[in-house]
């Protein structure tokens, strides 16, 4: 039978000696965003992962070599805040026009719809939906994120222009919720993209979502929502985490 060997190979793969790189080391012992990441840290994790080259360019190792020239190889950079007065003014402006990326990643996206209606009326808070990441500043992760969705989440998040904010909606974004022991649902969203505000509940009511937005506004005004900068600072840590679960990484390491 022609396909029998394919099947057998798939069964034996996890235990096969050649597949050691797939087995994940304990993430807690490796490195964390709080401790900061040296350049060599990620590369020593499993010996194979190279996010940055010697010249601190993106390796884009998973792209075909002929495609590599088509993509940018600059890692994201930390944007320093302006001087106090200007930054406060900008933060006020940012907090008063939060535009949501219209990407419902899970069942929680259903709670975004009532916000558009007159009953909850998110427009009074300066919140509205946008169809493309380029125009959005808020990414609402609506509940569980499967590995397959995570790939799109990473891609969309990176395409958003800073400053950008992430709301984790529902228990699943916090600790996996009722899918915590599933084979395809990530447990902690903040290991893959930086999260500013979590909204607990399964599902949270639209009022809770609005409360989360109000909280986010306060945090932005205080200058605490530096997710994009955290992402840039700990880029290799985030990237290593992402690549550990997204096995078919066929995109550039940073999606401009």
């Amino acid at each position: 039978m022609a396909t029998a060997d394919t099947q057998t190979r798939r069964y034996q793969e996890p235990g096969a000696p050649g597949n050691a790189a797939v087995v994940n080391p304990d993430p807690r012992t490796v490195t964390g965003p709080a401790g900061g990441t040296g350049q060599g840290d990620v590369q020593t994790v499993d010996g194979q992962l190279r996010i940055l080259t010697e010249e601190l360019k993106l390796a884009n190792a998973d792209l075909r070599s002929e495609d590599r020239g088509n993509f940018c190889d600059h890692p994201p950079e930390v944007i320093k805040p302006f001087r106090a007065f200007w930054e406060n003014f900008l933060n006020w402006a940012r907090s008063e026009s939060l535009w949501i990326l219209g990407f419902g990643t899970g069942c929680g996206a259903i709670e975004l719809r009532p916000l558009m209606t007159s009953r909850f009326d998110m427009y009074q808070y300066g919140i509205q939906g946008r169809p493309t990441p380029r125009q959005s500043s808020v990414f609402v992760i609506g509940g569980y994120a499967s590995v397959k969705t995570m790939k799109r989440i990473v891609r969309s998040y990176e395409q958003m222009q800073g400053p950008k904010f992430v709301l984790g909606l529902g228990s699943c974004t916090i600790n996996g919720g009722m899918y915590w022991d599933s084979y395809n649902t990530v447990n902690r969203l903040d290991h893959y993209i930086p999260v500013d505000v979590y909204i607990a509940g399964c599902m949270p009511r639209p009022e809770a979502l609005l409360a989360g937005f109000v909280k986010l506004k306060e945090m932005i005004k205080r200058g605490e929502c530096e997710g994009a900068n955290r992402y840039a600072e700990n880029f290799e840590w985030y990237k290593a985490n992402q690549k550990r679960i997204i096995k078919n990484w066929d995109m550039p390491d940073y999606n401009w």
Binding site: A4, T8, N19, V23, N24, V147, N187, R188
Partner: protein, 195 residues
Amino acid sequence: MSDQHTQTQISSAEVHEVFADLHTRYGVRGLEEKRADQAFVRTDRDEAVAVLTHLRDRHGYTHLAFLTAVDQIEEGRFELLYMLHNYELRHDLGVIVEIPREGDGCSMDTIHRMWPAAATYQRELREMFGIDFPGSPRLHEDFALEGWHDLPPMRKEFDTREYSERTYYARPGRTKTDTRQHMKDTIYPSEAETW
């Protein structure tokens, strides 16, 4: 009013008639009438496609409602379930086919030429259970999972919790509440006395 839509138009005697026909021709066995409008039969792997074809062309079971698998790991086999529907009789007939769950035997003849949509089910079964359907289109493309390298996750020997703990970063401090006790203590304390 709704009876006309929900009630089956087939009597038990007629189901037995269909079964007797299948039994004579293909050695189909194990008729189970779960409901008035739902019955299950069992057949051998080699006869399965012939049985399905016969049911579709001779007995009016023209609709493949779904195709799925049940992992009977204790008995070392998968049970493939082809659920057919007869629109005129409003009757469901499930055809159960047993296949070994290990090695080369873990494969089944494709039925995508009878029902093109079956190719999608077969892709899913290949991915989730590792069942092979030689000749089925796009069988080895990713379906629901992307870049999956482990055991097919719906096989019962796949430990999904262990995989999750190994792969995803569990947030420490997760606790478990006994639902019944919580309802007694917190939500319905007064009613709980009568439980």
